[in-house]
């Protein structure tokens, strides 16, 4: 093998353990970036193989290169080098599930047609053995004409064996069209390539046969071809090519597929055998219950209830520890540094702002942990299946379930996950309602409000009112998403319906190292990405809340009548200063707009800053309340909120109605610049993010108004 650094792409069907191999090869030397020009996550890492540092790309899972979904298109376009600054991979590692060889080899035969060196990895060989399937890798290798290695990605020794095989590879390009299209199909391909693709398109040479086969099969152009000239010529050539296939007795739609499967059948019939067949597998027995039309939705609801109750309860001790750490850390800095602006900035700005958000890291880690476990076990696909009927009725699609559930963690991966939805109308409705799903950024606000204002009464012995309220907010988000989808279904024109079809992976124990690694990665992203915004906003906010410096007038009780509009004698100097700061003045300007929702000017400032990112709200409140705090005091934000009193009315600022109104506002408002940006990128238009921002924020205002007005009058 060349001693030059190579670009190695991992390609394969979904659920073949591709990412496990990627993690095993790259370890911690990996990063999540975007593909050039599109906001689609690309996992890239490096691995030292044979003493050389190679670049490894983990491509999105794909069933074929005849892409119908954006994910598949990305995999294909990476392999043919369509992206700027991204060269054609030097080696494609095609990962296949050994226990489902024939189906997986379909994609492998397509990749072999691209004119790049290919190595086949028979992953999950242990699973195949467990099912009584034995495979001879040498025979497969001889039939396909590519190197083959059988591994189980869970075993380190197998990964070493894979590395060894890569380092020994001679990077030979496999014979194209090894699967043997019949003469009429070959003739049709040549016609299309020579009369249209070659002269009139810029499709790279390596991709021409795949493109020709796709055009013959589909019989029409897809979006990728609109930009090319001589469209009419292209259409007439496709027609001629299809006629050639028909003359040869084939069906243009199926000839290629059947030829490939026939070839695959010949390859595997000699090389693999099944020695035992269990009648009812564990997956069968679990599916009988989990996908049952009545039990399925009930189990799905219980899974969600358990998940959110656990997030709320299990994270509490860790949150208390972090809270204590930041309070003590702030006190230490305050007492160690000399008094002055730097001391104030660090304690009231940076530490308070950051501490207010880092405290929610345990809940976010638990949330992602559960989502990765559900994915890892194979349950997520069942959830989509179970909910398909209901989703279709409300205007969504069964495939919307997984993006919507991802939205519980963060709307951004959720919106990106809608790429698996082929129908544009289904996809756009899913995108438009997805931000209603209670993402982890809302969690800090919910957790704070619930902990401060909802009693921790025990219900049915195991649940608490706080946990149920927490769960209720998630259900509220789901209900609003469903209602919004129901309305949108009637607004958007109906196009070609895409019926639900999905592969259900076998149940298995999740790979715990992958679960923990991915969870930690998401936690790191939360801290670094949110942290950057929060620190910046906290510093700006500290400045706005600390300046201009205003001295509190020294007055006696009898003078109060003259100045009662500007201050209250019971007010402390810090609170007076805050009210007269830039932030205070701005808050007072917007207060009349938000007062009907039960919010005061301090919450108003939090609402404004949280339009950058929802989690900033808590950091903002922490900064504001820390600045307002009298010297020497140190209490948690929760205590500060509970004890906050309106100096003008003498009434507590927060009531249960205020807390509920605030949580409803956060449940419904579109307060995330990153989501707006990703919707713009995914829809390639400002129309959809603008519409999303307007309708969600208007709905949030109206709903909070109704909730507060009813709640405060009860």
């Amino acid at each position: 093998m060349s001693k030059e650094p190579l670009t190695i792409a991992l390609v394969g069907n979904p659920n073949t353990g591709k990412s496990t191999i990627f993690n095993a090869l790259t370890g911690l030397r990996q990063k999540i970036a975007n593909y050039p020009g599109i906001t689609v996550e690309q996992k890239v890492g490096t691995s030292i193989i044979g003493g050389v540092l190679h670049k490894i790309i983990d491509l999105p899972g794909a069933y074929s290169l005849n892409y119908k979904k954006l994910d598949e298109r990305i995999a294909y376009e990476t392999l043919i080098g369509s992206y700027e600054h991204e060269e054609i991979p030097d080696l494609a590692l095609v990962v296949v599930d050994s226990s489902n060889l024939d189906r997986n080899l379909y994609l492998a035969t397509q990749v072999m047609d691209l004119g790049i060196p290919v190595m086949l990895i028979l992953n999950m060989s242990d699973v195949a053995k467990g099912k009584g399937i034995s495979i001879n890798p040498d025979l497969i290798s001889n039939s396909l004409g590519v190197p083959v290695v059988a591994i189980s990605a869970k075993n380190k020794s197998d990964i070493d064996q894979l590395k060894q095989k890569i380092s020994e590879s001679d990077l030979e390009v496999p014979e194209p069209l090894k699967w043997g299209p019949d003469d009429s199909l070959k003739e049709a391909m040549n016609l299309l390539i020579n009369e249209w693709i070659k002269p009139y398109t810029n499709i790279p040479e390596s991709a021409r046969s795949i493109e020709a086969l796709r055009l013959i099969s589909e019989g029409e152009f897809n979006n990728a071809f609109y930009q090319f000239e001589k469209e009419e010529k292209g259409k007439s050539t496709i027609k001629k090519a299809r006629e050639l296939v028909e003359k040869g007795g084939g069906n243009p739609m199926a000839t290629e597929v059947l030829s490939r499967y026939n070839f695959i059948g010949e390859c595997t019939s000699n090389a693999s055998s099944i020695t035992s067949q269990t009648k009812a597998s564990l997956t069968d027995r679990i599916d009988a219950v989990v996908t049952h039309k009545v039990a399925g939705p009930v189990i799905f609801t219980l899974v969600l209830l358990f998940m959110f109750q656990a997030i709320f309860s299990w994270a509490t001790p860790f949150m208390d520890m972090i809270d204590l750490l930041f309070v003590e850390g702030g006190n230490w800095v305050a007492n160690t540094l000399p008094e002055g602006m730097l001391n104030d900035l660090l304690v009231d700005g940076v530490i308070a702002g950051l501490g207010g958000v880092v405290i929610f890291l345990p809940q976010i880690l638990f949330l992602f942990f559960f989502i990765y476990v559900l994915e890892g076990t194979g349950y997520m696909a069942r959830a989509a299946f179970v909910m398909d009927g209901f989703m279709t009725k409300v205007g969504l699609h069964g495939r919307s379930v997984v993006p919507l559930m991802s939205g519980f963690a963060c709307a951004i991966p959720g919106i990106m996950a809608t790429r698996t939805i082929e129908n544009w109308r289904d996809r756009i409705i899913t995108i438009m309602v997805l931000p209603f799903m209670a993402c982890s950024a809302r969690l800090p606000v919910y957790a704070l409000m619930i902990a401060a204002f909802i009693p921790s009464t025990t219900i049915l012995g195991i649940f608490t009112l706080q946990g149920i309220t927490f769960f209720g907010l998630y259900i509220f988000g789901i209900v609003m998403a469903v209602l919004a989808a129901f309305v949108m279904k009637r607004i958007f024109p109906t196009g070609q319906q895409t019926p639900f079809i999905m592969e259900l992976p076998a149940y298995k124990m999740p790979k715990w190292s992958v679960v923990f690694q991915n969870t930690a990665e998401r936690g790191k992203v939360f801290i670094t990405e949110a942290g950057k915004i929060i620190v910046a906003i906290s510093i700006v906010l500290w400045f706005l809340a600390s300046f201009p410096k205003t001295e509190m007038p020294v007055l006696t009780q009898t003078d109060n009548t003259e100045y009662n509009s500007s201050f209250d004698v019971t007010e402390n100097p810090e609170s007076y200063q805050l009210r007269h700061s830039f932030a205070g003045q701005f808050g007072k300007i917007i207060e009349p707009v938000i007062e009907p929702l039960g919010f005061d000017w301090k919450i108003g400032i939090g609402l404004i800053t949280s339009f950058a990112a929802r989690e900033v709200m808590v950091g903002t409140l922490n900064t504001i309340y820390s600045i307002e705090e009298e010297d020497g005091e140190s209490s948690t934000l929760k205590e500060k909120l509970i004890n906050d009193v309106n100096p003008e009315t003498g009434q507590p600022v927060y009531s249960i109605a205020t807390a509920i109104s605030l949580m409803i506002f956060f449940a419904l408002a579109m307060q995330c610049m990153s989501t707006i940006a990703i919707v713009k990128r995914e829809t390639n238009s400002w129309k959809w993010p603008t519409a999303m921002f307007v309708y969600m924020t208007a709905l949030a205002y109206l709903s909070s108004f109704i909730a507060f007005q009813i709640g405060s009058n009860l």
Partner: protein, 73 residues
């Protein structure tokens, strides 16, 4: 005797005979291994269908299952 997949019974061993659906759906079914001549077993048929094809387990909407013609093995 051919019948739509949606009319199949749980546990029935079937052979896929004809995919009488839209071109896009045929492509998707083919990629997932559901081609004419493929043999499988109906795992569940409660409106939507779960079909075991080789080692692949496919969840198929009832509307699509109506267009997949199969015969008992």
């Amino acid at each position: 005797m051919m019948h739509p997949l949606s009319n199949g019974k749980e546990g029935e061993e079937i052979v896929v005979r004809c995919l009488d659906c839209h071109c896009d759906d045929v492509c998707r079914l083919n990629e997932l291994g559901c081609v004419e001549g493929a043999q499988g077993r109906i795992i569940s048929n409660q409106k939507n269908v779960i079909l075991q094809l080789g080692e692949a387990r496919l969840a198929i909407a009832s509307t699509l299952a109506k267009t997949i013609l199969v015969s008992s093995k």
